[in-house]
């Protein structure tokens, strides 16, 4: 778990904003980086056990004490502290499309505990703005649907999608005073990092540069929507920094609205890397479903970097 804090004053008013990012994977790291870059937030890793309930309970207590201490200290220095904010971000847990029921159940339990913790803080510090931002997955909940618009209803196909919908619902049912925002990104990709779950595009570039073969669980013409992690993190940070969600609920689909086939990606990667890309196809029926989005499904201020540019960026960073 990552805590990012920034305290500052503006016309004599003490202001403070704390981000608590649960799940520091591809998206979580990008959000933290964006906060550090954009607004001078200071980050510190905090212990948070995902598997041991007792340790987790103690971690929550430590975190609560830490937050209370921050605000007590800050309140001493300022008369008006009403504009202090805490933003929870659940930027996806350890589970993915292929996760088994036991892992999914564990993630759901952890998620519920974090939401409950945020509820408690809302009760305890009711003069603060507390928001909860959940990174869900439109790739999962709209799987198999093409040209998705705002009118499409989620049709979950696999347990992971049901988990995401259950998380969304749990958050929506949480304390009314808690600001709620749900992001539904499509297939998110970013730089190659072996410590994170690696998506198709970076692995294709990495393997391509080394003449390794990449296994594709799909077919040459499987359509997916790939969205660059920095586009997603920039949007989330902008929303969480500059908008107040107090008593509000917002849901956003974050996709590129540029459907791409595996063959299309391969072609772009080949021209970027300057080598032949070797692929083996495993047309698993569950992975053949197409997925694409219409621009009308996206928020107006969501800017998208082109697939070609992002592939060049990832290649350059490798």
């Amino acid at each position: 778990m990552l805590k990012l804090t920034k305290s500052f004053s503006e016309v004599g008013i003490g202001l403070s904003h704390t981000f608590l990012i649960f799940g520091v994977g591809l998206i979580g790291q990008a959000i933290a980086k964006e906060l550090e870059l954009q607004d001078d937030f200071l980050s510190s890793y905090k212990g948070f056990s995902w598997t041991d309930p007792l340790k987790q309970s103690s971690d929550f207590n430590t975190l609560k004490a830490d937050i209370l201490n921050t605000y007590m200290q800050a309140q001493k220095n300022s008369l008006n502290f009403n504009r202090a904010r805490i933003t929870f971000i659940w930027s996806a847990g350890p589970c993915g499309f292929q996760s088994k029921d036991a892992d999914l159940a564990l993630e759901l339990v952890n998620f519920k505990r974090v939401v409950n913790f945020s509820n408690k803080l809302v009760e305890l510090l009711d003069h603060l703005y507390i928001d909860f931002h959940l990174v869900s997955s439109s790739g999962a909940i709209f799987e198999g649907q093409r040209s998705v618009t705002v009118f499409n209803e989620p049709k979950p196909r696999r347990p992971y999608a049901f988990l995401k919908l259950e998380q969304e619902q749990y958050l929506l049912d949480a304390n009314i005073k808690l600001g709620k925002c749900i992001y539904r990104p499509s297939s998110v990709y970013g730089n190659y990092n072996p410590l994170n779950r690696i998506s198709l595009i970076p692995i294709m570039i990495y393997n391509g540069m080394r003449n390794y073969t990449t296994s594709i669980f799909g077919s040459m013409d499987t359509i997916r929507d790939y969205v660059y992690v920095e586009d997603v993190s920039r949007f989330i940070v902008r929303e969480s920094l500059f908008k107040s969600f107090s008593n509000k609920i917002r849901t956003y689909v974050l996709a590129s609205a540029r459907p791409a086939t595996i063959m299309n990606i391969k072609q772009i990667v080949e021209s970027t890397v300057g080598r032949k890309i070797y692929l083996t196809y495993h047309p698993v029926p569950s992975e053949l479903a197409h997925n694409s989005f219409m621009p009308s499904a996206l928020p107006l201020n969501f800017s998208i970097t082109s697939l070609e540019t992002c592939i060049r960026k990832i290649h350059r960073n490798l």
């Binding site: 093409r146 040209s147 618009t149 705002v150 009118f151 077919s219 040459m220 013409d221 359509i223 609205a257 540029r258 459907p259 791409a260 086939t261 063959m263 299309n264 072609q267 196809y281 197409h290 694409s292 219409m294 621009p295 009308s296 499904a297």
Partner: protein, 331 residues
């Protein structure tokens, strides 16, 4: 029964006066498929604005606000109709893709006929075949036909079928669009992926041209269009060069033997001293050079096809075609 998704793609350059009417026709077709309980759905209408010279973009933006299934792609400069079509295809996700002109030259109500042809013949591409002269200019009509006929003959492909009103299997269209470079002729590249190409008679014509409005295709654009077609079929043309080279060498060798034998058996026939050795040298080296050039041309042909992205293979799934058969043949 599964529902097939259809995408339409319309490159836009100077079509502001036609776009609303075109959109009305697309909407009617979409509603027809909904009402008649067809298992067809017009999921997206993609308009690719190719740096339009009129206010098409404003009209399209309004249409995109009105219909959430309309997608407007704005190209950064004028790239031409084929690159615009390719861009549109790369943004599509339909099972079948229909390409339409902006000026109502290709009425959307005929899409059913194109789909019917697929149901009937199991093909991957259906081109509209105008039953009347498409353009006002007789010269343009016939020169276009003649040019396509010539290229069909030397390339061995169905180039004569080409028309911008076409129905293409989505997976093949996207794969083709992925491999196209800026000098690739899209329809020629389609033939790298499939040979199942059909044509259907249709009463379509270029009203804009016939009514006297200037065509957006200038003479220089047409020449560049024709040039691209040659470049894309160049591989076959280069092979013709190689055959010519081999023929030249064979002729040179034969004629050399003839001259040498003549010189030995009947030296009086060649009255000029040195002519025989000169002609033997010219023929021999000319033949060798032609042969070497033709081998280089063959290498270039291979490199060209590689650069243009001609695939080694492509896998296609035609299992959904049964839906079209159920709709159009079982009725």
């Amino acid at each position: 029964m599964e529902t097939l998704n259809i995408s339409t793609i319309t490159p836009v350059y100077a079509g502001s006066q036609y776009l609303e009417e075109l959109m009305d026709s697309i909407v009617k077709q979409r509603e027809k498929w909904k009402n008649d309980a067809y298992h067809l759905s017009l999921k997206e209408a993609i308009f690719v604005v190719d740096d339009a010279i009129d206010d098409s973009i404003i009209i399209l933006q309004k249409l995109a606000l009105k219909y959430e299934w309309v997608r407007v792609i704005n190209l950064s400069r004028n790239f031409g109709q084929h690159p615009a079509t390719i861009a549109g295809i790369l943004y599509s996700s339909g099972d079948w893709i229909v390409t339409l002109d902006e000026d109502l030259q290709h009425p959307p109500q005929y899409i059913d006929d194109l789909l019917f042809k697929v149901a009937e013949t199991d093909c991957d591409i259906v081109y509209a075949k105008p039953t009347t002269s498409v353009h006002r200019s007789v010269f343009r009509n016939y020169s276009s036909k003649l040019y396509k006929y010539f290229l069909s003959k030397i390339s061995g492909e169905k180039i004569g079928f080409f028309n911008s009103y076409r129905l293409i299997r989505g997976s093949i269209a996207r794969a083709t669009a992925s491999v196209c470079s800026h000098e690739t002729y899209f329809d020629v590249a389609l033939l790298w992926f499939t040979q199942r190409v059909e044509q259907i008679d249709m009463p379509i014509k270029d009203d804009r041209n016939i009514n006297g409005t200037a065509s957006t295709y200038t003479f220089s654009k047409l020449i560049s269009h024709a040039g691209r077609m040659i470049v894309s079929t160049r591989a076959k043309i280069l092979r013709v060069g190689m055959i010519l080279g081999i023929l030249t060498v064979t002729f040179a060798m034969g004629y050399t033997i003839f001259v040498v034998i003549n010189k030995i058996i009947a030296p009086e026939v060649i009255s000029i001293e040195g002519w025989a050795s000169l002609i033997v040298c010219v023929l021999f080296f000319g033949g060798v050079i032609t042969l070497l050039v033709s081998i280089i041309l063959e290498y270039i042909a291979v490199i060209l096809l590689h650069i243009q992205g001609k695939p080694t293979f492509f896998v296609v799934d035609r299992s959904n075609d049964s839906v079209l058969k159920n709709i159009f043949l079982d009725k």
